[in-house]
Symmetry: C2
Subunit: 205 residues, 2 copies
DNA sequence: AATTGTGAACCTCTTCACAGCT
DNA sequence: AGCTGTGAAGAGGTTCACAATT
């Protein structure tokens, strides 16, 4: 299978949102140039990104918004529900639990973990917070496919190791530290400070 | 001034964190290879990134962790405090207000804005939530340099327009929509769904 | 002996430009 | 006539490899 670049995938996500909004507005077709304008990129970029996956447009006419949105949804795997575990129910963790966008896209929290004995056993949004005992059992039972790591940096690696051991192959890591994983396991990082620091850099120059 | 790529800047942020941890641990020197291992990249990449800004190492010895951390801090503009405005005090907004990391890096919230009449006038963390009246006056008074946009997608453009008008030149946009800004204004995007969707794509293939 | 700093080579991603379709 | 799909060209970012330095 052809290697698709990370930037192409992240643009597909943006196209998906753009198209969703167009469909909501009742717009039925859009050109690559129209999509480009709405995403501050070039029309060639839009066409090239899509070309990796097929031909979705009509020459002379453009793309049908609803069809293209659904195609991209299918490409991204948004046509199914994903079972998510959240490890670390602190400030960030709780904000994520309340983040509507995730649920709308089919990312559903099904298991919570935390180290803090005060939190263990309590419930949030109908989910019990578990300790780190019997992790694999819970991961299995809930069919967890993706884990969101929202623990302090120094615990991130051990948490990921434990979950890899249970068979989890995809991680979204909010801890500001790189973690090692075996081949075939994917880790994405989310670090809000990095973008702020890029702005700080820009303003400093 | 030489153009520095976004990827170099975001790696500098990561180096900064890595070095901070090393300094805390009492490690005094580190090689480019050591830094590379901690960030899952190559040593040539580390050296090349740093070379855009100067020569900070000693051949045969490596880098002094404390000195390099401070140099990178200076490059990124982290040696000063930045005044931040938060627009949109919803779930995400509130989580950001409580995010320790920002404050530690010198990013300080100094003004809050929201549209909701129920929120206007109330206080969070000692900051009053303002309406959209007299925005520029407040921006000026508080010396706001960066605005964090945490409003629904459909309001993002008008909010940014208003703030650009007040002279704000740097934005961190959590709304999942691209906004247009004039030359000389920088917008960075933060969209947690995009990384989850990349994982979904990975698991789908 | 070890490790940096960097030009050159390499590779990947973006843009161009146009044939081909509607 | 208008717009897509795509090979080729161009731009940009990463890695190599080695001279220079401690």
């Amino acid at each position: 299978m052809k290697k698709i670049s990370d930037s192409t995938i992240s643009r597909l996500s943006k196209y998906y949102r753009t198209l969703s909004r167009l469909v909501e507005k009742g717009v039925e077709t859009v050109s690559s140039q129209g999509m480009a304008d709405l995403n501050n990129i070039t029309s060639a970029q839009v066409r090239k990104d899509l070309s990796f996956f097929g031909s979705f447009g009509k020459r002379g006419l453009g793309y049908n918004t609803k069809i293209l949105r659904d195609e991209i949804g299918r490409i991204l795997g948004l046509n199914k529900k994903w079972s998510i575990a959240l490890v670390g129910v602190g400030n960030i963790g709780r904000a994520l639990l309340d983040y509507e966008e995730f649920r709308k896209q089919g990312f559903l929290f099904r298991a919570l973990f935390d180290k803090d004995p005060h939190k263990i056993g309590s419930e949030i949004n109908g989910l019990v917070i578990h300790s780190d005992e019997n992790i694999c059992e819970i991961i299995d039972k809930e069919g967890i496919e993706i884990a969101i790591i929202a623990v302090p940096a120094k615990f991130a690696q051990q948490v990921v190791d434990a979950l890899v051991e249970c068979g989890v192959r995809a991680f979204l890591n909010f801890a500001p530290v790189a973690v090692k994983v075996p081949e075939g396991v994917q880790v994405k990082y989310e670090n809000m400070s990095i973008e702020l620091e890029a702005l700080s850099f820009f303003l400093t120059r």
